[in-house]
């Protein structure tokens, strides 16, 4: 970015001919990507809009099958009315849970990531490189493995979590073995009206926090290392304590680096398919279902292709809204820093 921004002033003005040549060259470079994306990304998205206004179902899949009927906004209506055969489907509840899920996860990722980066940045800490190498490991374990392994950890009978809790409870309180059914416990831990946080949510949260903070820590470490040391010395001469130094020196450097990652992390977590699908299976009673897992079930289990298409379009607009809001937030802090 910096190289591109600096050079136009230094270059002589180019003629129209040269500029169009650049455009033509550019499109030559872009051709493969545009072709591939036109066919497997943009066309399907347009096709999907059409599908969402039809009753496309299993019967329309067969070779030489009749064209589906146009049904207008019926699919959208069905979703909003929760008129879908999926058990315990409640669009609004799932949306609220999905937002809360992403927000709460990102908050943990950010705080833990920054704290660990601060610890690893302490002058004179031995084996830094070793710890950094270890801490990054969760990032490279395939998500399906992470999800299934954590499902095992929370297994009521064979899981490590219950066994550890049993061990602790047995030693400290002489309590009987813990047999919490983490992923299927029907009684919600937190319930505010229709907004429910079952035990499974906390299990998913634990798995995703384990999975997510290391990357944040890497980014925070990079940002911390870019802080000039004399800023701290100057702050110290002004008599700043560690909290003041953190607020006036560290935080302004961390913010611009962490913010894009927080937004990125929010979107990734919002759409995190594997944990919900494989750990809790969306349960208990669909309480940990996310928009993406619902969209998947609509196609793979229900074969409601048209409803799935309408659902994906709802999802698109929700994500668009989130992106616009986060973009605003990003710009606001960018101005703050400038």
């Amino acid at each position: 970015m910096t190289a591109a921004a600096a050079s136009p002033g230094a270059l002589p003005r180019r003629s129209v001919w040269q500029r169009t040549r650049d455009s033509r060259t550019a499109y030559l470079f872009l051709l493969p990507a545009l072709l591939v994306m036109a066919i497997i990304t943009f066309y399907p998205l347009v096709f999907q809009v059409w599908m969402s206004f039809t009753d496309y179902g299993l019967t329309n899949l067969r070779y030489n099958a009749p064209a589906p009927n146009f049904v207008g906004l019926q699919n959208y209506q069905r979703i909003l009315d929760n008129n879908i055969v999926l058990p315990n489907f409640d669009f609004l509840r799932i949306l609220v849970f999905n937002l809360f899920w992403a927000l709460s996860n990102v908050a943990f990722h950010l705080v833990i990531g920054v704290v660990v980066a601060l610890v690893l940045n302490i002058e004179g800490l031995r084996f830094k490189r070793f710890y950094r190498a270890i801490y990054i490991l969760p990032v490279v374990i395939p998500p399906i493995i992470v999800a299934t392994v954590w499902r095992n950890l929370f297994d009521p009978q064979y899981g490590a979590i219950n066994q550890i809790l049993s061990g602790v409870a047995g030693i400290l309180f002489k309590a009987p073995p813990v047999t919490l059914d983490w992923l299927n416990q029907p009684n919600p831990i937190v319930a505010l009206g229709p907004f429910i946080l079952p035990l499974a949510y906390f299990a998913l949260l634990a798995a995703n926090v384990w999975l997510g903070w290391p990357l944040n820590s890497v980014v925070a470490t990079g940002a911390l290392q870019s802080i000039p040391r004399d800023l701290y010395e100057a702050a110290e001469m002004d008599g700043a304590g560690w909290l003041q130094k953190f607020r006036t020196v560290t935080l302004p450097f961390l913010r611009p680096a962490m913010l894009p990652y927080a937004i990125y992390g929010f979107i990734i977590t919002f759409n995190l398919f594997y944990l919900s699908y494989f750990m809790s299976g969306g349960g208990p009673f669909g309480q940990t279902e996310l928009l993406v897992t619902i969209a998947y079930r609509l196609v793979s289990e229900q074969h409601l292709y048209a409803v799935a298409a309408a659902f994906a379009i709802f999802e698109f607009f929700i994500l668009l809204g989130i992106t616009l809001i986060t973009n605003r937030l990003g710009k606001a802090t960018a101005r703050y820093d400038a």
Binding site: Y27, L61, F127, L137, P142, N152, D155, A295
Partner: protein
């Protein structure tokens, strides 16, 4: 926390009284390492437990053996499909995605990073918008569309190639953005010098940019490979009919999925390790590039 930060380089590192502080820090770091490593060590212990389905109760199972590994390699699913076949299918999908996203992605990334052209902004926003969408968002139309390509007995949807196409759709925008972020950090002067020496755009790209971009290409290829190697959503939906086309993820799902009545945990653990280990070994070799590639791509992108 911060006092020692400032006076450390004045006083030197080894000073009496530093030992206690170092000890506390080490304990904190080790505690974090334990939480990070625990699930991995647990799964390793379980995979070595010879009592297979029975309750794994310690990190050091008595009579540890590789029996579970032998079992999953011999018979990974209830169907007569070999482990080698599953792995080969996963590799084919992974290589197709990796090759497609890197080769197509680097060309597009070059155009976005270096060339100013009509429609640049709109195209970049379009690609970024796709990046935001989860793969599942295009599930229904891809399922229907790819299924329409029927040539004799070959159906594009029910093929490894169809899965690779579908995953490439979601992997390509990431590849373009990741590579572009890296290319933006390569000084423009290097190409300009080559152009002065008489090189055209393509030569500058081929002989200046491409070699310099090797780290990010490796990283992007690696991510493409992982995406394909462990892909589940499309494979499960597209390939479920023909067991000869099953992938590792599908077999893994068969073990722990909602229809698996009782999970053979030792075999599951062995299987999980067999799937994850190659990725982690490659990661160890690429680690330096991955961390810097991600940091640069993420911050600048």
């Amino acid at each position: 926390m911060s006092r020692p930060l400032a006076d450390a380089h004045i006083a030197g590192r080894r000073r009496p009284g530093r030992f206690g502080r170092q000890l506390v820090l080490q304990l904190i770091c080790i505690a974090i390492a334990v939480t990070v490593l625990f699930p991995m060590v647990w799964i390793l212990a379980m995979s070595l437990d010879p009592r297979n389905i029975s309750r794994p109760d310690s990190l050091f199972p008595p009579g540890a053996s590789l029996d579970a590994y032998a079992r999953v390699i011999a018979r990974p699913t209830l169907n007569p499909v070999s482990f080698a076949r599953l792995a080969l299918n996963s590799v084919i999908i992974a290589l197709l995605i990796s090759a497609a996203s890197v080769s197509i992605g680097v060309l597009a990334a070059y155009a976005f990073s270096r060339l100013r052209f009509r429609g640049r902004e709109i195209l970049m926003i379009a690609i970024l918008a796709v990046l935001m969408l989860p793969a599942v968002a295009a599930l229904a139309p891809l399922f229907v569309m790819l299924g329409k390509f029927q040539f004799g007995t070959f159906n594009l949807r029910s093929s490894l190639f169809g899965v690779a196409l579908a995953v490439t759709a979601s992997q390509l925008p990431f590849a373009i953005w990741n590579i572009k972020g890296y290319l933006d950090t390569i000084p423009k002067e290097l190409e300009e010098a080559a152009t002065v020496d008489g090189a055209g755009r393509f030569q500058a790209f081929r002989y200046v940019i491409l070699p310099l971009a090797t780290p990010v290409l490796a990283v992007t290829a690696f991510f493409g490979f992982i995406a394909g190697w462990t892909e589940f959503q499309f494979s499960f939906l597209f390939l479920v009919g023909d067991t000869n086309l099953w992938t590792l993820s599908m077999a893994l799902n068969g073990m722990v999925g909602q229809y698996a009545a009782s999970t053979p945990w030792s075999q599951f653990a062995a299987f999980a390790i067999l799937v994850a280990l190659p990725v982690m070994v490659v990661y160890m070799f690429l680690q330096r590039y991955i961390v810097s590639g991600l940091a640069i791509g993420g911050v600048k992108g």
